[in-house]
């Protein structure tokens, strides 16, 4: 509004609610993974292509929110938490949708009938990733509650108690990933050397989705524990 002298300038735009919006967007991209893995296992090339584009779109939307949040955090802004922790958290959280997009892109490169045990391994990883993302969102949705009570210690504690589940699920996915990678390497005769390389890469990047979720909650813990 023109013609006013006001104290509005001292109130900077809060990054906290957009942080949760960014979490939702990144997770929305990750949630598409179950479907795309299913389509990939069924060798439905068109559907894989279609879903890959959707994931790319969501990843891009998440990037825009990320940039908006960064714009709100010049050095002059004073936050109740460490500014650097917020930026690191945002970066790792953004990694969730980045990795989801990478998985989708890899799946559009090559398509072939997969051996049964590889299929089931991929599907199992995808399902576990969905569980991790569920748990991840349950943690991050607490952010807005923390904001409304001005970061009460009690509420922070409750949030921190939800974090180990994400880390536990991520660990379980690691185990599944190792088993799956072994199966992929054993299937060289069926899928060829390039196939081994390609699928190993897919399982690796699929594992990155929950890796990033686990890293992000760890960042969140660092951020909140210093309050």
């Amino acid at each position: 509004m023109r013609y006013m002298r006001s104290i509005l300038g001292i109130f900077a735009e809060s990054p906290f609610k957009p942080l949760y919006s960014h979490a939702e967007k990144a997770c929305e991209a990750a949630y598409k993974l179950e479907e795309i893995v299913q389509a990939y296992c069924e060798v439905d090339v068109e559907k894989v292509q279609e879903l890959s584009e959707e994931i790319s779109g969501l990843e891009h939307e998440a990037d825009i929110i990320k940039q908006e949040i960064r714009k709100r955090l010049p050095y002059s802004v004073l936050l109740p938490v460490n500014r650097q922790d917020v930026l690191e958290f945002l970066k790792t959280q953004d990694g969730i949708s980045d990795s989801a997009e990478d998985v989708a892109k890899l799946m559009t490169l090559r398509s072939y009938a997969l051996p049964k045990e590889i299929k089931s391994g991929l599907l199992e990883m995808a399902q576990m990733t969905m569980k991790t993302i569920d748990a991840y969102l349950r943690v991050t949705e607490r952010i807005s509650q923390l904001v409304s009570t001005s970061f009460r210690k009690k509420d922070i504690k409750e949030m921190l108690e939800l974090i180990p589940l994400v880390e536990k699920l991520e660990h379980e996915i690691d185990i599944i990933e190792i088993l799956l990678t072994k199966k992929i390497f054993l299937a060289e005769d069926e899928i060829g050397t390039l196939g081994v390389f390609h699928l190993a890469k897919i399982s690796d990047v699929l594992g990155d989705v929950s890796d990033n979720a686990a890293r992000a909650v760890d960042r969140l813990r660092t951020m909140m524990i210093s309050i």
């Binding site: 002298r5 001292i10 109130f11 001005s150």
Partner: protein, 335 residues
């Protein structure tokens, strides 16, 4: 004597300054309460009007006296020059505040009027009416110190108060239970801020006016204070309500707890300054209090770059207004 054209002009210029205080500073102090949703816009305006008017009339005399005769020894100056000076000072402050408001710069009406009175005093010195030593530099130094100390004090009080409130809230199972009492306290604190504002900022409008009236021998303390209070309320009714609404909508991250702490810190500081007769900036004190709450971890994001802007304007305001006041004074002499 009161129907002297100069006196009427000073009344008009004083009314304009009072209007400015009501339209901007008062609106700033009240926007926060509307932002939390504790009071509706209508309730806030009525309450703000009554309370700021009472602050001006009941507690405004000390600061008014400082502005009127604390800086420039008007008893040593002839009545005509005092009238010219009072008019020049009020007009200069009005021009600068209007210009700054147009540019959305958070300048202080208090700083402006003090600078303007000093400008008048220095012109009187240059004309040989008084000597350099007659200007009460000690009071000016005290005022300058209070300009630095008031935001800091507001910040410290707000910081401590927020930490204490937060401690209490920590102990409660259901923090929502504290919501109602905190909202009540917040309204009390905001009334207090408005009262403090009325008591301090009324001098910005009527300080020079009461100097002029004193010089012509028609001192009307209560009536002049009421006139200033009326101008402030008028400013809020005619323009300030829009700013209250804007601020109420834009400041979304205030809660009863952090708003209470910020307002209480500012109110306590400004009221102490009023009783010491120090014309401080209510807006700057509120900014200091908000920073205090921010440092206590009570706000989602506080932009500290505004502080530099305020310091910069603080340094700029006094010399600019001095020059403008002196120019207007010399211009009026020709007429």
């Amino acid at each position: 004597m009161i129907f002297d054209p100069f006196i009427i002009a000073i009344f008009a210029a004083g009314l304009y300054m009072a209007w400015n205080v009501g339209a901007n500073d008062l609106a700033n102090a009240m926007g926060t309460t509307v932002g939390i949703g504790t009071l509706s816009l209508k309730q806030a305006i009525v309450l703000g009007g009554v309370v700021s008017f009472s602050g001006a009339v009941l507690f405004g005399s000390r600061v008014t006296e400082t502005v009127a005769k604390g800086i420039v020894p008007i008893s040593l100056i002839d009545a005509h020059s005092v009238m010219l000076g009072a008019l020049a000072a009020t007009l200069a402050a009005g021009v600068w505040v209007t210009f700054a408001t147009y540019l959305n710069l958070p300048v202080s009406t208090s700083h402006s009027i003090v600078g303007a009175m000093l400008g008048f005093g220095l012109v009187a010195v240059s004309q040989g009416i008084i000597s350099m030593g007659d200007i009460v530099w000690v009071v000016l130094l005290k005022i300058a110190a209070s300009w630095v100390l008031s935001p800091v004090a507001g910040g410290v009080v707000a910081f401590l108060l927020f930490k204490m409130t937060q401690r209490l809230l920590e102990r409660m199972d259901d923090p929502l239970k504290a919501d109602r009492p905190l909202r009540f306290l917040e309204v009390v604190a905001s009334c207090w801020v408005i009262f403090a504002l009325g008591s301090n900022d009324v001098a910005n409008a009527i300080g020079p006016l009461s100097a002029a009236l004193g010089a012509v021998g028609t001192e009307l303390p209560i009536l002049v204070l009421a006139f200033g209070g009326f101008g402030i309320v008028l400013g809020m009714f005619t323009w300030g309500y829009r700013i209250i609404e804007t601020i109420g909508k834009k400041i979304t991250e205030l809660t009863p707890a952090n708003a209470f702490a910020a307002q209480f810190g500012a109110a306590a500081t400004v009221l102490v300054c009023s009783s010491l007769g120090m014309p401080v900036s209510t807006t700057h004190t509120m900014v200091g209090s908000v920073v205090g709450v921010g440092l206590a971890g009570g706000l989602e994001a506080v932009d500290l770059s505004v502080i530099w802007k305020i310091v910069f304007l603080w340094v700029l305001t006094v010399p600019i207004v001095m020059v403008v006041a002196a120019t207007i004074y010399l211009g009026l002499m020709i007429i």
